[in-house]
């Protein structure tokens, strides 16, 4: 067998020396890795749970039931989802930088369990980067990939959480030891403590800065600081954001058709047809509710329109179990949404004809927009033309 070339031996020796030098720096210590790991674990877990909730609300399994009250709950959870995702970006890069010298380890694994643990770093690191990069791109409305964002983001979230569990448990002993260390027994240790704290303070400040410059797109009092937010709660037609315009939805002409009627149907039979004049006459309810987008922005408006329950009663379909609310939009994944009995019964579930004292703009759903408490914006169907009772 040939001996390794002298250049290779020298390169390995240089890499080892570099690794030892870096690991003596407090910023690359086990304690810093543990603290950043805890911060990341918390932010990723909050992000995962709030994202899972959003998925369940939009695609409810038979055992899941979502409440209409408090009306702002989804606004809070989805705002938290995006905020913790953004906060995680500086934390993740800091953690990866801090532990990078440990990547240069030989042998790569000392046994089967160690190999399984090290192997889990591939989906953990790649998956974490995937989640924060694609999540950020999504809220910035940029989609440079072939997969459907919700499907890819949902699937990889489980990959990351599984890898995170493996990582947390396999590092728990090291982390406990590192976090339990006092570190103030000698003068030179003070320098180490100071270096570590300054590094962590800087990482925390950068993370906080990323959140502060974006979270105002949902936290209204902070909107003046939202310098890098992709949406602004005050900007758009009728002073709040639009996701899909009437033209993009292909309803710019049909939505303005003067012969528009809303039909209430059951088993293919039209129970009742309402003209816009009929609906305006029934538009006695006013409700102040937010549009809370899955992309993390939200804005509260005052809506006026007839209650869905009143419409169903007029159509002689008051006892329906649920109703499918369908749009003039012909295609698209969000052209219909389903209201449960609880949502129908909520007094603030309306088909809005007005917002903030003005007739609804076509980009906000004219002639009719569903507005119901505590639902994601994609489920507040626009350009409503049919209610199909079930």
């Amino acid at each position: 067998m040939e001996s390794p070339a002298p250049e290779s031996i020298a390169a390995v020796a240089r890499a080892k020396r570099w690794r030892e030098q870096r690991l003596s720096d407090p910023r690359h210590s086990d304690r810093v890795a543990a603290i950043l790991g805890i911060a990341l674990g918390v932010s990723f877990t909050v992000c995962f749970l709030t994202g899972l909730l959003s998925h369940l609300i939009q695609h409810p399994p038979i055992w899941f039931s979502w409440t209409t009250r408090p009306a702002g709950t989804y606004r809070v959870t989805q705002g938290l989802h995006v905020a913790t995702g953004i906060a995680a970006i500086p934390l993740l890069f800091a953690k990866l930088w801090s532990v990078f010298p440990r990547l240069l380890q030989w042998p790569l694994a000392t046994g089967v369990l160690h190999a399984a643990e090290r192997l889990s770093l591939l989906p953990l690191v790649g998956g974490s980067l995937f989640m924060v990069v694609t999540g950020l791109a999504n809220v910035q409305l940029w989609y440079p990939w072939v997969f459907y964002f919700p499907a890819g983001h949902f699937a990889v979230s489980f990959v990351v959480m599984g890898a995170l569990l493996v990582h947390l448990v396999s590092k728990s002993a090291i982390s406990r030891g590192a976090l339990g260390h006092d570190g103030r027994s000698e003068p030179e240790r003070e320098v180490v403590v100071q270096g570590r704290r300054r590094f962590l303070a800087a990482v925390g400040a950068i993370s906080a800065g990323a959140v502060v410059t974006t979270v105002g797109q949902t936290v209204f009092p902070l909107r003046g600081l939202a310098l890098l937010a992709p949406r602004h709660p005050d900007i758009g037609v009728q002073n709040f954001p639009v996701n899909k315009t009437a033209r993009e939805a292909g309803v710019a002409t049909s939505a303005l058709d003067p012969s528009f009627v809303l039909t209430v149907e059951s088993d293919g039979v039209v129970l009742r047809a309402f003209t816009l004049d009929d609906l305006y006459a029934m538009a006695t309810r006013t409700a102040t509710l937010p549009i809370a987008c899955v992309e993390g922005w939200s804005a509260s408006q005052t809506w006026r329109g007839p209650r869905v329950s009143d419409i169903l009663e007029e159509a002689a379909a008051p006892g329906t179990r649920s109703v499918s609310v369908e749009s003039l939009q012909r295609g698209g994944r969000h052209r219909r949404s389903v209201l449960t009995r609880a949502q129908i019964d909520d007094a603030d579930t309306l088909l809005a004809v007005e917002v903030d004292g003005e007739p609804l703009h076509v980009d906000h759903g004219f002639p009719l927009r569903l507005i119901s408490p505590n639902r994601p914006g994609v489920m507040q169907t626009k350009w409503v033309s049919r209610l199909v009772v079930q």
Binding site: L129, L141, W145, P150, A155, L227, H232, V237
Partner: protein, 136 residues
């Protein structure tokens, strides 16, 4: 040991749930594309981003005085990160001409303000450290 084995099994089981979700919804999730993305992000980070960060830190250490080294490294890292995060906004890649509410702000100006504040904070930190006789 038993806890570690259990955690490995649970963790890899949850990973399997994610894989099953992607494969079961292949038409939307494009599982092969997802794997390519994960591996690509791993490689870009380990082979490009990390070396650049270490090189940048080393270069700052060579030219910046001791008292300013930490704040300058922090400000440089913040500048690089915020610029990278805001890059799609600066380029307007998600902006839709027919929808005035998409990326509605002047992101070039706003990023300059944010980065300016970062360096102002770094400068203030350096001044304070200099007065207190601090080190890096």
């Amino acid at each position: 040991m038993a806890v570690l084995v259990l955690a490995l099994c649970c963790g890899w089981g949850i990973i399997a749930v994610g894989v099953w979700s992607a494969v079961g919804d292949a038409r939307d999730a494009h599982p092969v594309a997802l794997v390519v993305h994960l591996v690509t992000f791993d490689l870009i980070h380990d082979l490009a981003i990390s070396p650049v960060l270490f090189l940048g830190g080393w270069m700052i250490g060579k030219v910046v005085p001791d008292v300013a080294r930490g704040p300058v490294r922090g400000a440089a890292a913040a500048t690089a990160l915020y610029t990278a995060m805001a890059f799609p906004l600066l380029r307007g890649w998600g902006r839709r001409p027919t929808n005035s509410s998409t990326l509605p702000l002047d992101y070039g100006q706003n990023l300059a303000i944010v980065v300016g504040l970062v360096w102002l904070l770094a400068a203030a930190t350096i001044v304070l450290r200099g007065r207190n006789g601090g080190s890096r």
